[in-house]
């Protein structure tokens, strides 16, 4: 079943085109790695996909509906970049942050037993029950990202959208984090991941989309490594070799 259908989408900031004629279909259960150089429009495309932006032309359909017109908030789990997009100084605990995953279901009124059970299950699934009462701003980068994954799981999302989730996370935690994503994907959750480390994407993703304003490649990781798409998108082959470790 097609979960995401991007059809000839164009988007510009003022007169600066960022996304140009991109078409892309993603099946339910896929693990899509979105790669491209800095400023290539990856984050913008992710924002178009989850309905944070409206395309200038073309359509983005998620779960069968145009994203900017429909509200599928409870089906989307969004994980932002570690430090820049979230408020580290706010005295909020891990559990309070994970509870937000239920807000798309129960925004006003009392939480039900289902809500509370989903929160406990999510904390447990990513292994942060023991730090649930700590302040989220005091956690390490890896722990904090787990908290955001738990928030997405608490919402029982079908789609996890992650924007460079492991920036500033140490190598060991990063590996464990991607193992967790892999396991969640095997359980049926669709994943769309922006990641600057091509090596990680080709290891974990089931398909790759390579973007630099236009879509240079969309297919399986093996074919991606064999083609010149990356070199074309980055405008030179050096960075490709550098990242293949």
């Amino acid at each position: 079943m097609v979960l995401l259908d991007v059809d000839d989408v164009t988007f510009a900031y003022g007169d600066q085109p960022v996304i140009d004629g991109v078409s892309l279909a993603v099946e339910s259960g896929a693990f899509l790695g979105l790669v491209g150089p800095n400023g290539s429009g990856k984050t913008t495309l992710l924002e178009l996909i989850i309905g944070l932006r409206r395309p200038d032309s073309g359509t983005v359909r998620l779960f069968g509906d145009p994203t900017h017109e429909s509200n599928h908030g409870e089906r989307i789990g969004f994980v932002p970049q570690t430090v820049s997009d979230t408020n580290g100084a706010m005295p909020i605990t891990v559990r309070e942050a994970v509870r937000m995953g239920r807000y798309a279901h129960t925004l006003l009124g009392r939480f039900t037993d289902d809500d509370r059970a989903a929160i406990d299950a999510a904390l447990q699934r990513v292994g942060i029950t023991d730090i649930a009462d700590r302040r989220i701003g005091r956690l390490s980068g890896g722990q904090r990202q787990r908290a955001f994954i738990a928030r997405a799981l608490a919402s029982e999302a079908d789609l996890l959208a992650l924007d460079e989730p492991t920036v500033g996370v140490d190598a060991e935690s990063r590996e464990a984090f991607y193992d967790l994503l892999h396991a969640l994907n095997e359980e049926g959750i669709t994943i769309i991941l922006i990641e600057h480390d091509i090596g990680i994407v080709t290891t974990h993703a089931s398909e790759i989309a390579c973007l630099n304003r236009e879509l240079y490649f969309h297919g399986d990781p093996e074919s991606f490594v064999e083609t010149d798409a990356l070199a074309d998108a980055y405008g030179g082959g050096q960075s490709l070799i550098h990242h293949q470790h």
């Binding site: 989850i50 309905g51 944070l52 509200n71 599928h72 908030g73 409870e74 989307i76 969004f78 932002p80 997009d85 979230t86 408020n87 580290g88 100084a89 706010m90 005295p91 909020i92 605990t93 309070e96 942050a97 937000m100 807000y103 798309a104 925004l107 006003l108 009462d133 700590r134 302040r135 701003g137 005091r138 390490s140 928030r151 919402s155 959208a161």
Partner: protein, 342 residues
């Protein structure tokens, strides 16, 4: 005070007015007045038995609660200065009210025009941020100075006649807390508290992670506007005691003092507590030494903030020392978790 005499032919508007009066009388005199009279009798503190101070304490409590409730969301969105901007808009609103009263033969309560102008300014600031792409602090600065400019022109346009009235609003005063003002502030406090209680979840989500909230389908713009308008209500309500220039302090300082607390709800509770100490102590000191209430309240709040920050430092230092000594005792290296680097 309106005498409570009714007849069968009393029109509904008058009936409503009478029932409001009766409710105000019940809350201010029968509940609050009696309670404080009782405490005064028990403790021998005469100040508590004076109706003037009873109103001042009621206002102090209201300001502490609503300031911390709304300020908790503002401070953690890095919008601390919006309170100051809206206070200056409220000043323009007061000037509009006094100007209309002085120039035309209409009677408008300056409080009503202040609330209207501050609410419009709140929505304007939010729209500038959302649609005009202005930096948030730039749009705050534009609205702040623009409002004050309007206020200053209106004050001078009436040959300085309303300048006396304006002074009380600029610096605040306990003397301005009339029965009516106390009742209005109490009413506004009930509205603000109810609004924050109902919209707590979307407000906290938007404060913590606006993009995540948007992705979860929460109408972020609507809650931003709600927060801005609530701020305007708090500012106008607290302005009479605190003064235009100092009112923002009660939105910011108690919240900042409560920041080391673990848990957002708990931090709001602590901020309310800090606010209560600051406002009641401030009002008491202001009365005893005949000094400005707003200034005294803000200085007490800043003292509490300083104590809070110092105690966190001392606690961390003690924790490190304990950790170091236990590490030395065990002769094993200890890894710091870097927990206090934020």
């Amino acid at each position: 005070m309106t005498p409570l005499s009714l007849s069968a032919s009393t029109p509904p508007a008058v009936l409503a007015q009478l029932s409001v009066d009766a409710a105000v009388q019940f809350v201010l005199d029968s509940v609050w007045g009696t309670a404080l009279d009782g405490i005064a009798g028990l403790t021998g503190i005469d100040m508590l038995a004076s109706p003037f101070m009873q109103r001042a304490y009621l206002a102090a409590i209201c300001i502490a609660i609503i300031g911390a409730l709304v300020g908790s969301f503002l401070v953690h969105r890095e919008m601390a200065m919006i309170g100051d901007t809206l206070a200056h808009s409220a000043f323009a609103g007061v000037a509009v009210g006094l100007f209309v009263n002085a120039t035309f033969s209409v009677v408008v309560a300056p409080f009503v025009t202040a609330l209207l102008v501050a609410a419009v300014a709140a929505l304007l600031v939010q729209s500038l941020v959302d649609y005009a792409g202005a930096y948030r602090d730039t749009s705050l600065a534009i609205v702040l100075t623009g409002s004050f400019a309007v206020g200053s022109i209106l004050v001078t346009a009436t040959d300085g006649g309303i300048a006396v009235g304006i002074n009380a609003y600029l610096f605040g005063s306990l003397a301005t807390v009339s029965r009516l003002n106390a009742a209005i502030l109490l009413g506004l406090s009930v509205v603000v508290t109810a609004a924050v209680a109902v919209a707590y979840r979307p407000l906290v989500f938007v404060t913590f992670d606006e993009i995540g909230a948007r992705a979860a389908g929460i109408h972020v713009t609507r809650y931003n506007q709600l927060l801005a308008v609530l701020t305007a209500v708090v500012v106008v309500g607290a302005m009479q005691i605190m003064g235009v220039i100092l009112v923002a302090g009660m939105l910011v300082i108690p919240v900042a003092a409560a920041t080391p607390v673990r848990g957002f709800k708990r931090a709001i509770g602590v901020a309310v507590g800090v606010g209560l100490i600051a406002t009641t102590a401030g009002v008491t000191l202001s009365y005893q030494y005949d000094i400005a209430a707003g200034g005294t309240i803000v200085l007490v709040a800043i003292a509490l903030y300083t104590v809070s920050k110092l105690s966190v430092r001392v606690r961390h230092r003690l924790a490190r020392r304990t950790q170091a000594s236990s590490a030395a005792a065990a002769s094993q290296p200890v890894t710091a978790d870097g927990g206090d680097d934020k």
